[in-house]
């Protein structure tokens, strides 16, 4: 599914650039200039971020997480799951099945919810990137508030379900 989305993004974006080029040559050239500039502007920190994810996920494999959190119990498990969710970066295509296997391995609903909300809502690894684009004020307050809300939401899910 994701490759279809990727291809359609390419078609739409480059199609739009083509239309712009037909209508206004100078503006299209300007757009390409901004595109090249922003690509190489984003690249250094993106490479660092990607490298860090590769490193973390290579060292902390999903099996290790499931084995560890399946054995733990009570509040300690919930807090560990939340902290893991907060510091790791795992695409939801991988993290949601992983959460399901946590549930099967015996983790509580609160623990699974804490893992999911921590992963999705608090974006620690991308924080340097976010600060660079949006400033410290916005990036730090957004992640801090999300940290509080993520934990609260996990607790409520655990109570409701």
């Amino acid at each position: 599914m994701s490759s279809i989305i990727t291809w359609s993004t390419y078609i739409v974006v480059f199609g739009a650039l083509g239309v712009l080029a037909l209508r206004d040559r100078a503006k299209a050239r300007q757009a390409v200039k901004v595109a090249v500039k922003s690509f190489f502007g984003m690249l250094p920190i993106m490479l660092a971020f990607i490298g860090l994810i590769g490193l973390l996920l290579g060292l902390v494999s999903p099996e290790i997480i499931v084995r560890y959190l399946g054995q733990e119990a009570g509040w300690w498990a919930t807090i560990t799951a939340f902290v893991l969710g907060v510091v790791l970066y795992i695409a939801s295509l991988v993290s949601i099945p992983l959460a399901a296997s946590l549930l099967r391995a015996g983790a509580s609903m609160t623990t699974v919810a804490a893992f999911i909300t921590g992963l999705m809502m608090v974006n620690t690894l991308t924080l340097p990137l976010e600060i660079k684009h949006l400033g410290k004020k916005m990036a730090l307050s957004r992640n801090f508030l999300n940290l509080l809300f993520a934990f609260a939401i996990a607790i409520v899910i655990g109570m409701v379900l």
Partner: protein
Amino acid sequence: MKPNLPQQMSGNAPQDKPVRKTLRQWLFDYRLALIVAVADLLIWIFWPAQAAPVIRNTWDYLVEMVVILIPVAVLMGLFEVWVPKQLIGKYLGHESGWKGILLALLFGSAPTGPLYVAFPIAAMLLKKGASPLNVIILLNAWAAIKIPQLLIEANFLGPSFMLVRLALTVPSAILMGWLIQKGIEHTGGLDIDPAGSESIS
């Protein structure tokens, strides 16, 4: 492949720039990437059994990043020259009200790329006059309430899990946006230069 990549990339970057960056500046720009590359190298030397999954993961994410970053960069270029400021101001600005909030939620939850793609887009929207409230909602929605992700969630963790989480996350996302907007207003505005955010280097 990791250690020599930054150099490769730096080789063809400065074409459009009038002043060529010095090697020192390149090293500074890529310092974090270089640190990670050195860490990878150390793992490869001293802990070769762990190196294979690290390299495989890094490569997978690297390909994904480059594939997604190209259309995002082009999109930003198009945005810059094509979309008038008044348009963004009208639909996502301070006066946009509930319609702006709804639009930010929809835009954020549409099937789009990973979160790191959203930051340059969010910066662009801020620069074009979107309110912090709507930008925060967009980012929060992008991170936690993507539609394809909700479908996977309902499938693996059950529809009730997905619905309860969704029902809690949407108001939280809006509330956070409101709080942050108030905070920014009370502390003297954003700490980025809105005019200069397109030259993100």
